[in-house]
Symmetry: none
Subunit: 196 residues, 4 copies
Amino acid sequence: MARPNVEALRKKQILRSALQQISERGVVGLRVSDVAKGAGVSGGIVHYYFDTKVDLIRAAFEENAAQSLERRAAIFADEDADVRSTLHALVDTYLPADDTTTESWRVWIEWWAAALRDDDLAEVHNRAYEDWAARVQSVFGRVDGIDADTARSHATVLVALLDGLTIQALMGSPTMTVDHMRATCRRTVDLLLAAG
Amino acid sequence: MARPNVEALRKKQILRSALQQISERGVVGLRVSDVAKGAGVSGGIVHYYFDTKVDLIRAAFEENAAQSLERRAAIFADEDADVRSTLHALVDTYLPADDTTTESWRVWIEWWAAALRDDDLAEVHNRAYEDWAARVQSVFGRVDGIDADTARSHATVLVALLDGLTIQALMGSPTMTVDHMRATCRRTVDLLLAAG
Amino acid sequence: MARPNVEALRKKQILRSALQQISERGVVGLRVSDVAKGAGVSGGIVHYYFDTKVDLIRAAFEENAAQSLERRAAIFADEDADVRSTLHALVDTYLPADDTTTESWRVWIEWWAAALRDDDLAEVHNRAYEDWAARVQSVFGRVDGIDADTARSHATVLVALLDGLTIQALMGSPTMTVDHMRATCRRTVDLLLAAG
Amino acid sequence: MARPNVEALRKKQILRSALQQISERGVVGLRVSDVAKGAGVSGGIVHYYFDTKVDLIRAAFEENAAQSLERRAAIFADEDADVRSTLHALVDTYLPADDTTTESWRVWIEWWAAALRDDDLAEVHNRAYEDWAARVQSVFGRVDGIDADTARSHATVLVALLDGLTIQALMGSPTMTVDHMRATCRRTVDLLLAAG
DNA sequence: GATGAATGAGTCTTCATTCAT
DNA sequence: AATGAATGAAGACTCATTCAT
């Protein structure tokens, strides 16, 4: 009675737990009972909020995308900042250096695998990417002499590069350290800006 | 004494089937019985050659890496060819345009997810990447004025770009078509070569 | 809150069924699904209460030992009764004459075989035997002129004799009938008492 | 060609391996492939000599009984020896003191469990016991004043006692050591002889 | 006689999902 | 809203047995 958003609260609790589980054990190893345990609720309640395990996973991925964007909101908001600095700062927030970012990246990789055979998942993924690429594009677009097409192309390259390098970093590649990743990204950003 | 290498033959048969299954259903959905069916053998025989499902999956990933390299062997072998043409040709073989390449890429994505929680898998993956990056580096290195470090850096960027763009292409992104992917890669290759 | 001890109840139910199965089909032939069927529950629930088949078997053996002792509790409790009568009565309860006793004996034989390669099982067995031998010893000890050592020795002989004779009776030996077994045991009891 | 009793030789080889396996892993854990390995032959050949696993087990048990009797043949043969010494010597050969005897005892325990649900096995067992009891009876019968019935009764007690005590010894009971077992048996033998 | 690859039935075990309380 | 006992389908894995060579 009265306690208002118990529902919303519980859902968030469960989704956070699900994301943690996905990061730790993968979609493959995700057990509803573990998600419940991690959220401090009973197994049955998860199905009260999410009809099936698949629904839960989808919602978790959406939550992950939302969080990702939210974490970079401040950087995108400051439209007066220097483009180069903005891009470098952006790159920095994507480096899998801290636990939060690493967990998020692991979820993205799981997402890619899952989306390969779930069109809904792929669609949500594409919307998230489109959103994110558009924002990066608008940063490049702030430079004089860079038209929309070029800005978009640059954004595409940078986004893809971040994904590709992170994969290697998360695989524990001995050559792809976080520092090496940052240097490579910055160098490429500079190259793209120089190319105009 | 008469029977030749039934063992090697059977193993290959099973691994091909496993790779197909991984591409279609993912590691998550891989059922030993389906692998057997796909290989035209009984369920028991799979366990005769591979102790556990995990062993089978590992062997399948290694097979995938070996096949990937083998498919580009000819391009790397021709050391007299023009660098730009070679890189463009290389890019072309990585575009997820045909079934074989697409299947292989799907397996790679599955691999990334699986390697996140299996160190052995990650190690095999890193060796495969190191191998492949070294070859691309040696192509860049054929250009006068590009030293080893720069060549390596260029190779890293190109490899990561291919991975990153393919992810988007395989997600069915409406903007990332195979043609767009080829154009973006070629442009970046040219940019890197121009940068020296 | 309302549900009482479903857990304890269900466990007992399952253990009874397991003991029946062990007696009928042996540890070798025990199928979890049969135990479930015998207990009138689904297959999955057995694993809800017992992690593995081995755990179930262990618990069943312990239950068997507990029941065995419980069934003789009244005889041991009456410490004023005549020693000879008490021992004869004890012997009688061990004759594999009725279904309950026979089932229990069959489980003991299975236990011996199983304990040969399971130290935990052997330990529980030894505790049960020690318990049982100590009680028989205390009966012999009630006789004047029988010291503790002798009482213990007599107890050991009687216990071993019961086991040894029962084996032959349960093998269906044509010579070792229940009556013959009773006579042999009583005669030995009398001989031991006479020896002092 | 010509090598005569390859068959008989192979059979023995396989049976010895089977007995060892039964002693080590029990009838439950006996795998035909392990028997083959232990005998140094291929898995298929076992079925050339024994139609089914059950046949193999039966033959192994018979072999065990035959060996048991054979090992005591000398003691029974010396009919001029002192009865008490003969019985004490007999007891000694039954103590699970060395590997051979222990292995044999473990097989007997397995046999009891198996015979509980295999009438053929029980019958062979009973014949073996009858044989063995008759011999012990004839030893007791050599004493003046002990008639056939009494001798038989004494034999029954001694045989059962040996079985019962061995069970406890093989369970690893801390109180039932080999020495304790010998003492208990000798004391009982003396008691029986004294009773006449 | 001997081999070992191949089969396929049999079972344990896991886990998403349901539902009485 | 919440619990957790109960279900049952699904799938990995084992192993006796067969049979082409």
